[in-house]
Symmetry: C2
Subunit: 403 residues, 2 copies
């Protein structure tokens, strides 16, 4: 820790560095009913043909299509009704020339039939069925294996399982599946002034908001938060926690104490216990961010003010969590809306501005003090002003990344 | 059950009826760390002023603004440095005329000071500080209660708690909060041909896909699924389950057996054990849907084919779950994309068409047999063609409701 000033890198560069140290996350088996939203860590193949037999997909009559070729309303084909096919029956029924069988949706096609005439186009008259419209071979029939054939790849490893996918997995008999583990995110809050949330702060003290911000954020992104405690500016305690963290965490988040001030224990502890890959990001609030490693476990040191913490979580840590969980598209809520007022910005400097979505569906920038907590609570998300442009005009369409 | 044909109602009407029988869901206390994504069921007020004391929000020097009025780089104001304010200190320090105190970000403002000069605009010279720029009263200071004042409403009942809200709640000391309970959704699968997922179907049998589709869907929408079992077309068993379900469920979903056929046990059991409010919806697949009640518990009878089941879940049940959970905006993923090919539709009939989002970000309609499971798995969502129009042209912008 030789320098007093930070070498600022861009947010893009910070994200790139953070992604380069993402650890490998293992797999675990889960019951199918618990797998929605999880990431498949194995290829799943169908263990059977689906359907397992030729099925009707309409209520009607199983026929030989050839015997309906000339059927019309005025000159119907007449077939002898020889029975009704029951649902769930194991034995396949048989019919002969000039015959038909009543069949329900999902019923097994009998031998001798190759199509189903919908009940709407028939009349039953004294043991015979009048067919009033021709059907083509295969019409209203789902063939064995047409949905999935035995051994066919149904889902590839890496898929984020939707509710409909769970249905697909049930069909192919995957009552348990292997999914990626939820990464464990260790969270440390630091600052001599920090007290637990259930205590009442005395003058000079503030409650530990950041542990909760970090855990809720980790949880929302599919991780398991693990509170490693509040460190009250005690460098030895911080170093002890950091040394032990890699054994139980996949990522370490430390909020507070990340500046290069003599008193900033986080920075000092990371410099001595691990490796600092970046210190300082062009992001306001959020400048004194640290990206580092303790052994092979990534660590993000986040400035202590909650508004800064949340900004760093949203624009940097989010990418790391997405890589770790494999959940790339989910929880990524972006809306395109028009800007309520113009937003000047210095060209060359990437900026992130918190905005509120108004009732008129406009993005209203929330200016004011960056350190104010209620701005965070009142805002709905953040917009990014790229370094290459001088802000936006009122009415310009912008992308809001919802919190 | 006197009629053989269904009186079809529109999807809109079906949703309206379903919403009219939504039950009241109670509250439960949860630890703050478990509250993200839950719906607040109480108003939360701040128990303290935040900040609890006048704080600096920059590193610099606490000064009396009046003593910096004429300060410039060439003619700086000179103030005597009388000490450094420590973080977290309970006792408020004092400074006199012509004096200043070094103060860190978050430090408590001393008596006698009303502003902070950022360290960047100062020089420290032998016990004195040169101030090179004037500051206004209040500059770089967050006043006691400026963020939230004691007793102020921070969040109103009904709010879906985001990760940043959890931080706000931590700040105001809400280490436990009252949230709406997760509704319990009872799920029954029916059909003589249905077997459990971990069994291998013999000819004529199919696996119970729908229980899994319904549970994953309920879970994704913030509910607790409860499997009530597979009923193999046994009306007495169905009636027993339906009679007991209201005691343990907030909503009952029954898949299969909802047609008006003589064999459709669901329809018969609901007609005799409860009340049928609607039977038949203009939705394909999904027509023979039942909306009813068993005692005061809403019941949706869903056609048994998985593709129909998922359609009814997505366009009808979803609205019910959203009303029950209070989670109105979340999990509602809609994307606006252009249609890959034209989509003819009969005017006057509302249609729902499954689509896949292509790599070129176009919505490609998936035609083909409605009963095919792999169409469901391959589709990303559904588009609605309103009754008032004759389909869409290729290139038209459509809204895709993602599964």
């Amino acid at each position: 820790m030789s320098k007093d000033f930070l070498n600022l890198i861009s947010v893009e560069e910070a994200v790139k560095i953070a992604k380069s140290i993402v650890p490998v996350i293992g797999s675990e088996p889960v019951a199918l009913e618990d797998a929605v939203g999880r990431v498949l860590s194995e290829d799943v193949h169908s263990d059977i043909n689906i359907p397992g037999f030729d099925r009707s997909w309409k209520d009607g009559y199983a026929v030989s299509a050839a015997e309906t070729v000339n059927a019309t309303v005025s000159m119907p084909s007449m077939l002898k009704l020889t029975g009704r096919i029951p649902m769930g029956a194991g034995e396949r029924m048989t019919m002969g020339a000039g015959e038909c069988l009543n069949i329900p949706t999902g019923g097994q096609m009998p031998k001798g039939a190759d199509a189903v005439v919908m009940v709407e186009y028939t009349d039953e008259v004294e043991g015979d069925v009048l067919i009033k419209r021709p059907v083509a071979p295969g019409e209203n029939v789902v063939l064995e294996g047409e949905d999935f054939s035995e051994g066919e790849l149904v889902f590839a490893e890496g898929r984020v399982l939707s509710a409909s996918d769970i249905g697909g997995l049930a069909a192919v008999g995957a009552s348990r599946v292997s999914v990626r583990k939820k990464p464990v995110v260790g969270i440390i809050s630091t600052g001599i002034e920090i007290i637990p949330v259930d205590e009442k702060p005395k003058a000079g003290e503030v409650r530990d908001v950041n542990t909760y911000l970090c855990s809720a954020f980790a949880k929302k992104h599919g991780c398991i938060p693990k509170h490693l405690g509040i460190v009250r500016d005690d460098e030895k305690a911080m170093r002890d926690i950091l040394r032990n963290a890699p054994a139980e965490c996949d990522l370490i988040l430390v909020s507070g104490g990340s500046s290069k001030d003599i008193k900033d224990v986080t920075a000092r502890a990371v410099y001595s216990e691990g490796e600092v890959l970046a210190h300082g990001v062009m992001l306001a609030p959020g400048k004194p961010t640290i990206i580092g490693k303790i052994k092979d476990t990534p660590l993000i040191g986040i400035p202590g003010h909650p508004a800064a913490t949340y900004m760093v979580l949203s624009v940097i840590v989010r990418h790391l969590l997405r890589e770790m969980t494999g959940i790339l598209k989910e929880n990524e809520s972006v809306v395109k809306v028009k800007l309520a007022e113009s937003l000047p910005s210095e060209k060359g400097r990437e900026e992130y501005v918190r905005v509120r979505i108004t009732d008129e569906n406009l993005a209203e920038p929330l200016f004011g003090k960056s350190g104010i907590l209620n701005t965070l609570v009142k805002s709905d998300g953040v917009i990014r002003v790229p370094g290459g442009r001088e802000g936006y005009e009122a009415g310009d369409e912008v992308e809001v990344f919802l919190w």
